[in-house]
């Protein structure tokens, strides 16, 4: 790979990294989740499976929800990235409506999966503010939650978009 340095925007801030294997450089094999968590100390995205299966590391990259463990940092050159830390209003501290809905519905237990679920939902609602129940299900189908917070997540989504699964 011929990239010497890369740049990306994370939560509205611009970062430039030098690529290489020397101390402090981003090695070509470093994944985006590692860069976010270790270098930028944005530890909201969790690294749980490291193989794209659990969604705990989900961030929004150029508008799409992506598992950041499945992307090399060098391939994110030029990307605009939003992480869970970038959701609340930096000036007022006001929570994103999804975050508030999650609190109101107690849509988490241990909370390890929660940042990933919120970011997957955020990407969905950005593109489609009134998704059907099935579209919500599908958008979250890559998010592992072992505590079974799913029903309260559906409650939160229902509060947000006025629709949801019946009968829970």
């Amino acid at each position: 790979m011929d990239v010497q340095s890369i740049a990306m925007t994370v939560n509205g801030r611009e970062y430039e990294f030098s690529v290489g294997t020397r101390f402090g450089q981003v090695p070509p094999e470093e994944t985006l989740v590692e860069t976010l968590r270790r270098r930028l100390e944005l530890t909201g995205a969790k690294q749980s499976c490291s193989e794209g299966a659990c969604g705990c590391c989900t961030v929004i990259l150029n508008g799409d929800a992506v598992p950041s463990c499945m992307m090399l940092t060098v391939d994110a050159d030029g990307a605009d990235i939003l992480t869970i830390e970038g959701l609340e209003d930096p000036a007022t501290g006001q929570l994103d409506p999804i975050q508030q809905a999650f609190i109101d519905a107690a849509a988490f237990q241990c909370g390890y999966c929660t940042p990933g679920i919120i970011m997957a939902l955020k990407a969905l609602l950005n593109k489609n503010p009134a998704p059907t129940e099935k579209e919500v299900d599908e958008a979250l189908s890559g998010n592992y939650c072992r505590c079974v917070s799913h029903y309260h997540v559906f409650d939160a989504v229902r509060d947000l978009i006025g629709a949801g699964k019946e009968g829970e």
Binding site: R37, L42, T43, G44, A45, K46, Q47, S48, C49, S50, E51, A53, C54, C56, T83, I84, E85, L87, E88, L95, Q99, F102, I103, D104, A105, A106, F108, Q109, C110, G111, Y112, C113, T114, P115, I118, K134, V136, D137, E138, L140, S141, G142, N143, Y144, C145, R146, C147, V148, S149, H150, Y151, H152, V153, K165, E166, G167, E168
Partner: protein
């Protein structure tokens, strides 16, 4: 005990939803889990793991690994002290030359980065002598079976009983009454074999991890993703005798009982930290969690069950073989609990004879998992009860109502002692849940579908199971509640000094609600100290099982009442009214009859100091809980695929502390290798190599968002004599009966007994005679 008898009515916080104290941190990503934390100078520890299910190391060469730049220590068997032993009884060297499962530890490496440590593992050269392996408990008991612990455990049987649980005598054989007399009274007798043996895993989202810092001597400072630092300290000091552990925990990314002691990770970190004199982080990967971390235990049983004409259980006699995998991780305790839970379901039966054997095999070691032995026992026993009910043609709901334990019934709990159930009666809760589910319409009789599609290709069946345990009062716990007057103004903050982990239950916040309620202060003014113990919190074992509500709630309430009593006494000279006519209000004490007489707490407490209340809970086992679980399943008779359509989980919890947290506990019951261990969750054992083929989140099947059935709850609140708020916990058992309920529903849908867990399409088609 308080001097004043206050009934807590007219509650401000208890019973109402209050967002958890950590809610904002969780949804903003600021909440700290262990992996988000590091200790200055920390190294990274990794383990070289055995590729063989059973082998001996003939030679091992670590020279190349040691020479790699960035490697700080490479340890093998001979580097560890002789008395460091895993298991109960202490038996297995953490690094061993005799390897007993795929994933067993061969060597530890500490390095500057995980990547360097992993590279070093590849450089260790090992020559193995591969030995024959044994993969199930009954096979391990055969006289010609390969011996895993020669000279230690004859016939692969790990000694029964666990002394910390059974101080008055070890216990593993339930014997009560006269089973022969019971069978003589029985109209219907069945005798069958059943197994639940695929060892699924609770599989918390956050893999197990610790950071261990050696502080000299045998002192270790541990940061751990543990749901119970008390358990961590206790078991840690078993495996490093004489050690003294200070443990700090963080928000835990799911545990389900499964991330407690993490003994293997602790010992790896401890050994490497001693060798390098640096803190060492040991974090399992997801693949390691799935292939070398504690699974559910294996359960095989042959049982003879007698039921009378009257529908009462008359006698239960048989043998329960428990597969501990390669290491007995205090599994004896789970056997004691399982035996206890059998009697809670069959509470009216007085004739019992269930013998047990705990077997070592070459499988991944079993550990603690939500349901704690009772779930694995019941996955078998509940289905055998069903066979007896079917023989007697009894509706299971009627059977449960008749036989479930109620006030005054006796049972032997895991301490081996005979206990008497307190004033409980779960018949109304069972009936309310059955009615809400619509059981009468859904259940058409044994082996009869509730619905068949017009083309005859799909059939539905309903199933229900019941489960209970009596762990609600288990463990001694203590706490301090401290009123700390604010420096400015007359308000105060109240701090609960107690080791309370947060692994999803919201118990830290629920306890703050109790403090706020009794001291009549805003919830916002109450906080809890950081979880952990060793030098910063009083003793609490951990939020094990369902006992947090009572065993943590009682000390907290006692400490608050202690504070109230002290405040009343301090206020007496100022208010000049008797203490029993005082009340706590607005950070002060006031006369109920002359409200103008008021004194702020701040003026009762010496300047800058605090007022401290103390509370404790002492272990007792007389309160059995109950959980009844209903579901409807649809089986595709052509493909063998089963879908769960709807679920209802019902209980009587005494009093709801927090409705949403409680509901979450019910929902969580179907996670953590419970319901789905009847459908698709299993470790898939390659019998040639002993490897778990389901070693990542793609191969290990789990239920995604778009597959969740409708879920309903039925919750009664009949006050029970537990503690001040008359509540109890149920989280341990919310899903523990779900697997046999699935099997029952499949039988009712198909009319064919499916006896193999999990009932995958292949298993169902085989049972239907289609393949």
């Amino acid at each position: 005990m308080s001097n004043y008898n206050v009934e807590y009515t007219d509650l401000q916080y208890i019973g109402k939803y209050m967002p958890r104290k950590d809610a904002r941190d969780i949804v903003t990503g600021k909440c700290i889990f262990l992996d988000d934390f590091s200790v200055p100078g920390q190294l990274y520890g990794r383990s070289l793991r055995s590729p063989h299910a059973h082998a001996r190391i003939l030679s091992i060469n670590t020279d190349k690994a040691k020479a790699l730049k960035g490697v700080r220590a490479v340890l093998t068997d001979s580097d560890l002290p002789e008395n460091w032993l895993l298991g109960w009884p202490p038996s297995k060297r953490p690094l061993d030359s005799h390897l007993r499962f795929v994933g067993d530890c061969v060597a530890y490496v500490a390095a500057d980065t995980v990547e360097i440590a992993d590279e070093a593992l590849d450089l260790i050269e090992v020559e193995y002598e591969v030995l024959p392996a044994v993969f199930d408990g009954i096979a391990a008991a055969r006289p010609d079976a390969e011996q895993l612990y020669p000279g230690q455990f004859a016939g692969n049987e790990i000694p029964g009983g666990f002394p910390p649980f059974q101080r008055q005598g070890l216990y593993w054989h339930l014997q009560r009454g006269d089973t022969e007399a019971g069978f003589a009274e029985s109209e219907y007798i069945i005798e069958e074999f059943m197994e639940y043996n695929k060892m699924p895993t609770p599989l918390a989202a956050e893999p197990p991890q610790v950071i261990i810092r050696w502080d000299g001597g045998l002192d270790f400072h541990c940061w751990a993703t543990s749901q119970g630092s008390g358990v961590f300290r206790q078991l840690g000091s078993f495996i490093i005798p004489g050690s003294n552990l200070v443990v700090e925990t963080f928000n835990v990314g799911g545990s389900f009982g499964n991330k407690h002691a993490m003994t293997a990770q602790f010992i790896c970190g401890a050994a490497l930290s001693m060798a390098t004199k640096r803190p060492v982080k040991v974090a399992m990967t997801k693949t390691e969690q799935l292939s070398a971390y504690e699974m559910r235990l294996g359960s095989q049983m042959k049982m003879k069950i007698g039921v009378g004409k009257d529908g009462y259980l008359k006698a239960v006699k048989g043998f329960w073989t428990v597969d501990a995998g390669a290491i007995g991780n205090t599994t004896q305790g789970q056997i004691g609990v399982g035996l206890g839970e059998a009697q809670i379901i069959g509470g009216k039966c007085v004739n019992w004879d269930i013998d047990t054997a705990l077997m070592a095999t070459n499988r991944i070691p079993a550990g603690i998992a939500r349901g704690y032995g009772g779930m694995e026992l019941n996955a078998c026993l509940s289905l055998l009860y069903c066979r007896a009910m079917e023989a007697a043609n009894i509706d299971p709901v009627e059977f449960y109502k008749k036989n479930y334990i109620s006030a005054g019934d006796r049972f032997v709990w895991r301490d081996g002692l005979l206990w008497k159930a307190c004033d409980v009666n779960y018949v109304p809760a069972i009936q309310a849940a059955a009615d809400k589910f619509g059981w009468k319409d859904a259940w058409k009789g044994w082996g009869k579908p509730s619905w068949v599609s017009p083309d005859g290709k799909r059939a539905r069946g309903a199933g229900c199971a019941i489960l209970g345990n009596a762990d609600l009062g288990e463990d001694n716990n203590e706490c301090i509640v401290r009123i700390s007057p604010d420096i400015v103004g007359d308000s105060c903050h109240v701090v609960l000094h107690m080791d309370v982990a947060e692994c999803g239950q919201g118990q830290r916040s629920s306890l703050c609600k109790m403090v706020a309620e009794i001291l009549n202060v805003p919830y916002e003014n109450v906080s809890t100290t950081s979880p952990g113990q060793g030098n910063h919190n009083p003793f609490a074992l951990g939020l094990c099982g369902s006992r947090g509500t009572i065993t943590y709630g009682r000390p907290v309430c006692m400490a608050c009442e202690d504070l109230r009593d002290q405040l009343f006494k301090l206020a007496e000279p100022k208010l000049e009214v008797p203490p029993d006519t005082m009340e706590l209000v607005n950070f002060g004490v006031r006369s109920k009859h002359m409200p103008e007489r008021f004194v702020a707490w701040k003026h009762l407490i010496p300047e800058m100091l605090s007022l401290v209340g103390y509370g404790k809970h002492v272990e007792t086992f007389g309160i059995p809980a109950c959980l009844v679980f209903f579901l409807e399943a649809e089986v595709d008779l052509e493909t063998g695929q089963t879908q769960i359509l709807r679920v209802l989980s019902g209980s009587d919890v005494g009093k709801v502390i927090d409705p949403k947290s409680l509901e979450s506990q019910f929902h969580g019951g179907i996670g953590a290798a419970t319901m789905d261990s009847a459908l698709f969750e299993e470790t898939i054992l390659d019998k040639q190599t002993g490897r778990n083929l389901a070693f990542n989140l793609i191969e290990y099947k789990w239920r995604p968002f778009n597959m969740f059935p409708k879920f309903d709850t039925s919750i009664l609140e009949t006050p029970i004599p537990s503690f001040q708020f008359k509540a109890m916990g149920v989280g341990e058992i919310t899903g523990a009966g779900s697997a046999p309920a699935v099997m029952q529903a499949i039988y009712n849908a198909t009319g064919v007994h499916v006896t193999e867990y999990p009932a995958t399409p292949k298993v169902i088609l085989k049972a239907l005679g289609k393949i």
